[in-house]
């Protein structure tokens, strides 16, 4: 789960990690009030959306007067901000973060992620801040310093010193950096983050170490023990259908094609999308009904697929293991009845309780095209979507 920069910084304050003073504002007038309260003569007005690259898209502005704060906030709030992470349609900005300015001496990159190879939480630092770290990792991997943390010890000060010295910090600044990293590690582990990225972390002319930007992601699987984090979820940042699906235990991602997919298992769901493409069609979605689906969740899955008006055919590909084919069949029948299904439906069932499932579908009298195997199913779905079946 993703949160906004202002929410991330709010959490960081609670962990004693230094961030700039600032508050979120929903209107230009509120932004001016925040700026007045902060004092000083320079402020940063930052669009709050769940995407990086906001500066390049015109979503971050440096204001040198209260008039400019008002002007920039007016421009940014309500704008459709396009960045390399939003897609061409961009995202509508609802809020801005107004922060006090600071005298930047140097910018760095710090991050905490999981290293999948070692299975350890890994802290990373790079002398270059404000850059796209994926590019640095790809082109000059030696410039990123990494330290894997032993879960038995957690963060210890040497880890912080190692990283701070590696990027050239000394004296008091080095010590402040160690404290900063210690706090960030605590936040990462205590709140079950999956990514903590400070890009850039700045050292000011006064020698302070401050997070200029902050990106925190949280492990969806751990949210059950963090109701405070769950509350930070911004539903306007997530697709309504994807949110609706996740409430029913479905994993759904909307795509651009015309063939709706209902599959059990993430791997098979991806493979089904892949083969649709190989056969010359385009999948309309990724949908994994999971192993614990009931008749009701299958019905819900159909509803979500059909909400997408581009869907011209639906391919159900079920290989029952933990999921039983008869449950799927009952769900299909219920959905066909309650949703007035008009698009062609291609069903391929195999695995646990397959005989019962097939019998239920046959006896239902529904117009279902049965498929023998994966290739057959995809071929039929592609033809159906083109109106050729």
């Amino acid at each position: 789960m993703n949160v906004h920069e202002y929410q991330a910084k709010g959490l960081m304050r609670k962990f004693d990690i230094s961030v700039l003073d600032g508050e979120v504002a929903k209107t230009a007038a509120e932004a001016v009030e925040v700026a007045k309260k902060l004092g000083g003569n320079i402020w940063v007005v930052k669009a709050q959306i769940h995407a990086g690259g906001r500066g390049l898209g015109g979503g971050v502005k440096l204001a040198k007067s209260l008039d400019e704060v008002e002007q920039f906030a007016k421009e940014i709030i309500g704008m459709q901000l396009v960045t390399h992470q939003t897609g061409p349609e961009g995202k509508k900005v609802q809020k801005v973060l107004v922060e006090a300015g600071c005298d930047i001496a140097q910018e760095y990159y710090f991050g905490i992620v999981l290293d999948r190879d070692s299975g350890k939480i890994t802290m990373m630092a790079c002398e270059e801040g404000g850059v796209n770290i994926e590019d640095v990792a790809h082109n000059t991997p030696e410039r990123i310093i990494k330290v894997a943390i032993d879960p038995a010890t957690g963060f210890t000060p040497y880890v912080g010193r190692k990283l701070a010295f590696a990027i050239g910090l000394e004296g008091d600044t080095m010590k402040k950096c160690v404290k900063f990293l210690s706090g960030l590690y605590e936040l990462y582990t205590q709140k079950d983050c999956s990514v903590a990225e400070i890009n850039p972390l700045v050292v000011t002319k006064q020698g302070d170490v401050i997070a200029l930007d902050a990106k925190l992601n949280f492990d969806e699987n751990a949210l059950f023990r963090h109701p405070d984090i769950e509350q930070l979820r911004d539903p306007t940042e997530e697709s309504a259908d994807e949110l609706e699906a996740s409430k029913s235990g479905l994993s759904y991602i909307s795509l651009d094609g015309s063939i709706g997919c209902l599959v059990n298992g993430a791997g098979l769901a991806m493979a089904t999308m892949d083969i649709i493409k190989i056969m010359g069609g385009e999948p309309a979605n990724f949908l994994d009904v999971g192993g614990g689906a009931t008749k009701e969740t299958v019905e819900k899955a159909f509803k979500i697929i059909l909400n997408d008006k581009n869907v011209k055919a639906i391919l159900v590909n079920i290989f029952g293991g933990i999921m039983k084919c008869d449950i799927i069949a009952e769900g299909i029948i219920a959905a066909a009845k309650s949703l007035d299904l008009k698009v062609p439906l291609i069903v391929r069932l195999e695995g646990t309780n397959v005989a019962v499932g097939k019998k239920l579908l046959q006896e239902s009298g529904l117009a279902i095209t049965a498929a023998n195997d994966l290739a057959d199913a995809a071929k039929k779905a592609v033809s159906a979507a083109k109106g050729e079946l």
């Binding site: 992470q85 999981l114 999948r116 190879d117 299975g119 350890k120 939480i121 994926e134 990792a137 790809h138 032993d150 879960p151 038995a152 582990t189 079950d192 999956s194 492990d219 969806e220 699987n221 751990a222 059950f224 023990r225 994993s251 991602i253 795509l255 599959v263 059990n264 298992g265 993430a266 791997g267 098979l268 769901a269 991806m270 493979a271 089904t272 999308m273 892949d274 083969i275 649709i276 493409k277 190989i278 999948p283 990724f286 994994d288 999971g290 192993g291 614990g292 290989f319 029952g320 293991g321 933990i322 195999e350 695995g351 646990t352 195997d373 994966l374 290739a375 995809a378």
Partner: protein
């Protein structure tokens, strides 16, 4: 022969008395697995579906001499159950549970590294040695005994591969689901090594997916260490970057972890590619 499980395996199910635990333990027993007990704290002493239940994994291991534990408990308690099984000295722990917090698994992995136990999963279908022993949630009837090893990050896609093999009358030595999570107990290379050493395995199907670099590391290992032919499919060629495709581990983040990038490395390492998931059986037949 086979790898990891066979007719001598003695299975206990952790979370036996739950709905899923009961269903899949009975399915495994019906397949021929020697189910010797189950664990549900607080229900020790009862007999569930003819299977003795114990309060702790220690007690179950002591009483039954179990050497395999199947974890079927809900995600928030699963890491604890795995840790208990490690502490009780279970040789092989198979965690089916999906949705365990990543940081829980980071701790488990650290303890696991200093233990004698092997963990398969989590978030996996389990292991089956056809005709001998099934520990997991896969449908037993699609398998047949034979000489192809199957390793996969995905559950249902493994069934698809097995089904295609069986349709062609090609049997399997052992099928292992290593799971779709970013931190797991056993990786591709561990299984490839076991299959390379197993005299009854002649060829291997490796099913990967987008995200991470487990497949490319495995490819390099195959190039340097393996004599048996390997066929591979990578799921997610059609997946957009930055979107998590169901599995916590299946997300394209860097650019080196796309299906195309992985295929490239696999091909360079001499692995036979199945670019369509419908070609798995056919491609495997071509290397036998």
């Amino acid at each position: 022969m086979s790898i990891l499980v066979n007719r001598d395996s003695r299975l206990i199910t952790i979370g036996l008395t739950g709905k899923q635990g009961t269903f899949h333990t009975l399915q495994s027993r019906d397949y021929g697995t020697n189910v010797v007990g189950g664990v549900t704290p607080g229900k020790g002493g009862m007999v569930h579906e003819g299977i003795p239940v114990y309060n702790s994994t220690y007690q179950a291991v002591k009483e039954t001499e179990a050497n395999v534990a199947m974890i079927m408990v809900p995600p928030r308690f699963a890491a604890d159950s795995i840790l208990e099984s490690i502490d009780a000295g279970v040789e092989l722990i198979i965690a089916i549970t999906e949705g365990i917090p990543i940081n829980d698994m980071v701790k488990v992995r650290s303890v696991l590294n200093n233990s004698k136990s092997r963990l398969i999963g989590p978030n996996c279908p389990g292991i089956i040695t056809p005709g001998e022993c099934k520990v997991g949630i896969m449908p037993g009837h699609i398998h047949m005994p034979g000489s192809v090893g199957v390793i996969s990050r995905s559950g249902t896609l493994t069934y698809e591969a097995v089904y295609q093999l069986t349709q062609r009358d090609i049997g399997q030595s052992t099928c292992v689901g290593i799971g779709g999570d970013p931190v797991n107990g056993t990786n591709f290379i561990d299984c490839l090594d076991l299959f390379e050493k197993d005299k009854d395995t002649e060829a291997v199907i490796m099913i990967g997916e987008i995200g991470g670099n487990a497949e490319t590391e495995a490819a390099k290992w195959i190039r340097d260490n393996m004599n048996k032919p390997v066929v591979s499919f990578i799921a997610g060629a059609s997946a957009p970057a930055g979107k998590r495709m169901g599995h916590a581990g299946a997300i394209i983040s860097g650019g080196d972890d796309t299906a195309e990038a992985k295929y490239k490395v696999l091909e360079e390492c001499g692995i036979t590619l199945a670019r369509s998931p419908a070609e798995l059986g056919e491609k495997l037949a071509s290397v036998l």
